[in-house]
């Protein structure tokens, strides 16, 4: 059992973060590192350490190096804690985690729904004791995974399309990315303003709005692919198809959240004007999608 004869260079167990110094550092051998975590690994690793023992001994016998490593790892732990605390003050991490709790079945069904939403019957977001179900269990729940992945894919596709036309440069790619992001932010801000002014008490949080606005990236990818593969005609066909599908999807999804939230209130005479305005908001939000898809993709496909 040769791991017991080596000096324990690390003073105490770092309960902080096994992930920081697990298997990646070649200087710290498995025997020294994982003495506290997996004794089974030690027994497996002990016989292998023949030639490296001498070098490892030198590194860890040097107190300065080991002290520096301990100091560095404790600094990293502190930094991680501070960052987590600050982030959780501004962005509720649990709420954000809800939007990324997806699995591949959900992603496939949702992508199919975004491209062909006409046969889907039930658009209601299902609840489980007052909290909405995670996207894993409910295909109608909004998520942020698809929009973020679609955004990155759109940027890559834009770069490829520009490269095919020999108009590529890294600045143009950054400009394209920030333009797309800025339009989504503008749309979310305008939606928030309209929802506040019309005093719509729905449970649409800011992340929900980002999710529903971000679904247009899927339409943009579809359009750009159609334009790249089949030329200008394919571009317009794909644009029409994805615009109609996206408009249908947005109207059906937001109708549940915006228009039905006023059914609890009194159905007096003033309710009809309000409900008309809410309908305008939903339809305007849907009609904005094809415009922005065309605006953001037409310069990629000539």
């Amino acid at each position: 059992r040769n791991f017991q004869t080596k000096p324990r260079a690390r003073a105490g167990p770092h309960t902080g973060d096994p992930l920081l110094f697990a298997d990646t550092s070649s200087a710290a051998p498995p025997m020294n590192n994982q003495g506290y975590y997996t004794p089974g690994y030690n027994i497996g690793g002990a016989p292998v350490g023949g030639p490296e023992d001498a070098g490892v001994n030198n590194l860890f016998a040097d107190p300065m190096a080991s002290a520096a490593m301990m100091y560095g790892s404790s600094l990293a732990n502190q930094g991680k804690d501070i960052v987590n605390k600050e982030i959780s003050r501004y962005v509720s991490v649990n709420k954000l985690k809800y939007f990324f709790a997806v699995d591949s079945k959900y992603v496939m069904k949702k992508l199919l729904l975004l491209v062909f939403p006409y046969t889907h019957q039930d658009w209601e977001v299902r609840y489980h004791r007052d909290t909405p179900l995670t996207p894993r269990h409910d295909v109608n729940a909004p998520d942020l995974y698809i929009p973020s992945m679609a955004f990155i894919t759109y940027i890559l596709l834009a770069g490829m399309a520009l490269g095919i036309q020999k108009r590529f440069s890294p600045e143009v790619l950054g400009l394209c990315a920030s333009t797309a992001l800025v339009w989504v932010v503008i749309e979310v801000l305008v939606m928030l303003l309209c929802l506040y002014i019309l005093s719509v008490h729905s449970d649409l949080s800011i992340f929900d709005l980002f999710a529903y606005s971000g679904y247009k990236y899927v339409g943009m990818i579809f359009t750009v692919l159609g334009g790249l593969l089949f030329g200008s005609d394919g571009y317009f066909v794909a644009l029409t198809w994805s615009s109609c599908a996206l408009m249908f999807f947005i109207v059906r999804s937001l109708k549940m959240k915006i228009l039905s939230s006023f059914s609890h209130n009194s159905m007096g005479a003033g309710a009809t004007a309000k409900s008309r305005l809410r309908l305008y908001i939903t339809v305007a939000s849907a009609a904005f999608q094809p415009i922005i898809i065309y605006w953001l993709t037409s310069h990629l496909v000539r």
């Binding site: 800025v182 503008i186 002014i197 003033g270």
Partner: protein, 82 residues
């Protein structure tokens, strides 16, 4: 229309400035948007005008001081980097 995030920030700063310079006595009361005129219906659905007046009043109250700092930063950046 190619945007950067900085142009969005500039646009937002300009809009908030525009809301913050509206004077209470000289302008808002004259057009019927003063704070004393927004205590309208106490039903669960205040009208659009009441919501807008509340929004203007809260923006003016909250953003007066931070806008000084943000505007100064924006001016310095514009002077330095054009």
């Amino acid at each position: 229309m190619a945007f950067t995030l900085y142009s969005l920030i500039q646009a937002v700063i300009l809009c908030v400035n525009a809301v913050a310079v509206l004077h209470e006595d000289r302008f808002l009361s004259k057009i019927g948007w003063g704070v004393d005129q927004s205590v309208g219906g106490f039903g669960d659905e205040p009208g659009i005008k009441v919501q807008l007046m509340n929004l203007v009043r809260s923006v003016r109250t909250v953003m007066r001081v931070p806008l000084i700092a943000v505007n100064s930063v924006c001016i310095v950046l514009l002077l330095l980097f054009g």
